[in-house]
Symmetry: C2
Subunit: 305 residues, 2 copies
């Protein structure tokens, strides 16, 4: 089935202990759609960029077969730009520059041709725009959303209205705590469940991710990597892998949700191996299934005797 991906397509400037790039393709919808494209039947990208957006970068989506009916170039604006520097531990970063540009007036209009998308994946974006998309799609099967501290603090009421309409909320541990004012993540997941979503995923960065559903609890390991070049987009790539696998299989059983969480982790683990979404230009299907098996292997607990 098809996945509609909404979010930012941006340019990033990134500094990490492994190096520096002045300008690379970035943004939540970029990582989600590219990662999802390795698993989903069809990925549809809804995003707007500015006049400075390079054809070469548009080609990166085209090369992955991504439907661009909802992709717009605003000739009066420039593309959203973010620049940041990661600390040595790679878990924290400083934002050095943010130019909202085209994203400031972003008003998502879903074209007729993709209104019937069945899986809706809302990347990090203001909650009003996220809700506008949900109001326009005509046959959603599963809506999956992400958010961040900025919206939890600044647009809490609007965010709660959007979350109420989601089937799946994917947040990291800090966001879960901030959103629910609960330190304990089991309690935080319960509170989020009461806000609307029947499936709650809490990402824990290098420590993996936790899946909470009415059918049970699952914890996915983090894959210890010898080198992480750039953590930017790892969380979005998780959304991509998760939504891609679920839309492809269209099976919401607990076991298949677990698989989707592992595919999310797999795509996130590829993402961090290079700067920006560079790693997504070419991953073989074998590499993806090998990585899945690696996750399975490192977490496998033998029977007690």
């Amino acid at each position: 089935m098809s996945v509609l991906v909404v979010g930012s397509v941006a340019y990033d400037g990134i500094e990490t202990p492994a190096g520096k790039v002045d300008k690379t393709l970035g943004g939540s919808a970029t990582h989600i759609s590219l990662a999802s494209s390795y698993l989903a039947d069809e990925v549809r990208l809804l995003a707007t960029v500015g006049k400075d957006f390079a054809q070469n970068d548009i080609d990166k989506f085209k090369n992955r077969g991504i439907n661009l009916d909802g992709f717009k170039v605003d000739e009066n604006e420039r593309t959203f730009f973010w620049r940041g520097r990661y600390h040595d531990d790679l878990n924290t970063r400083d934002t050095l520059e943010t130019q909202l540009n085209v994203i400031e007036k972003f008003d998502p209009v879903v074209p007729e041709s993709i209104k019937g998308s069945r899986y809706i994946c809302l990347g990090n974006l203001d909650p009003i725009s996220q809700k506008k998309v949900l109001d326009q799609v005509t046959a959603p099967q599963l809506s999956i959303g992400d958010t961040m501290n900025f919206w939890i603090e600044g647009m809490n009421k609007e965010l709660l209205e959007t979350i109420a309409k989601l089937d799946v909320l994917i947040v990291n541990d800090e966001e879960a705590r901030q959103l629910t004012e609960k330190n304990n993540l089991v309690e935080a997941a319960e509170v989020i469940g009461k806000m609307g979503p029947s499936i709650v995923i809490i990402k824990k960065g290098e420590h993996g991710a936790m899946l909470f559903t009415d059918d049970g609890f699952f914890t996915a390991p983090g894959l210890p990597l010898r080198e992480i070049k750039d953590p930017t987009g790892a969380g979005d790539s998780f959304l991509g892998g998760f939504s891609g696998w679920l839309s492809k299989t269209d099976d919401h059983s607990f076991d298949n949700l677990k698989r989707a969480v592992i595919y999310g982790s797999v795509m996130a683990s590829f993402c961090v191996e290079d700067f920006g979404p560079q790693r997504f230009e070419n991953i073989s299907p074998y590499a993806i299934s090998d990585r899945y098996d690696e996750f399975r292997k490192i977490a496998s607990v033998p029977a007690s005797s």
Copy 2:
């Protein structure tokens, strides 16, 4: 087989968001030996307390069948005392008071009757005392050691000499980074492996634990608990469960090391359910095997299709 446990037996004053106790039995060897006693054939405790140590607390070891040949009461000293307060997140704490007392002059002498112990479990203690124990035992099969930031900073040379003699080093992520000056935990484990131990375990608190051996890598999940009353001793309880299972089975295969890591996690998860080592007064064998299965279940990754 038998486990010799060396470390501190102390009194603790503990404040957590869940409550406060002015004085409870504590110390590394306390938690290790009590946790280990649920799995090992025989646990032998080598520790010294002061004249203020209550008979009632000695009975807690006796009730668990722990061999006290190496347990000494120094009539000229008082028992080691620590008082601390945990922050709301339970991951960080402030030490409010430390009275070294009897521990300051602790010079471990292993009595003849327990010199032949096969599994040696060195709880957190100064590295010179740890090494003295290793020098006295006559037939060690596996030596397992723990340490902490205090010794990494203050007695680095002595610590490295002790680590060189260990088969298994168990540290938390921060200690691993500090000890090796590597941020990346895969690299840190490799560096520790070169220091001596062929088995390296890095504990990550609520996020579980990682096992590095020549035969492979394994990651144990953290069990999300709705309520954590007191994290004190969780790491020591991990050592207890780990050493207890290994000594009972005397099987160092990779699969059995994984089991030992899960039993360590099981005992740590019991520990935090109550203040001090209170939870270890009575746990049924069924509760332990149920908890093991729970760890197995939450981490089980289905085949990819």
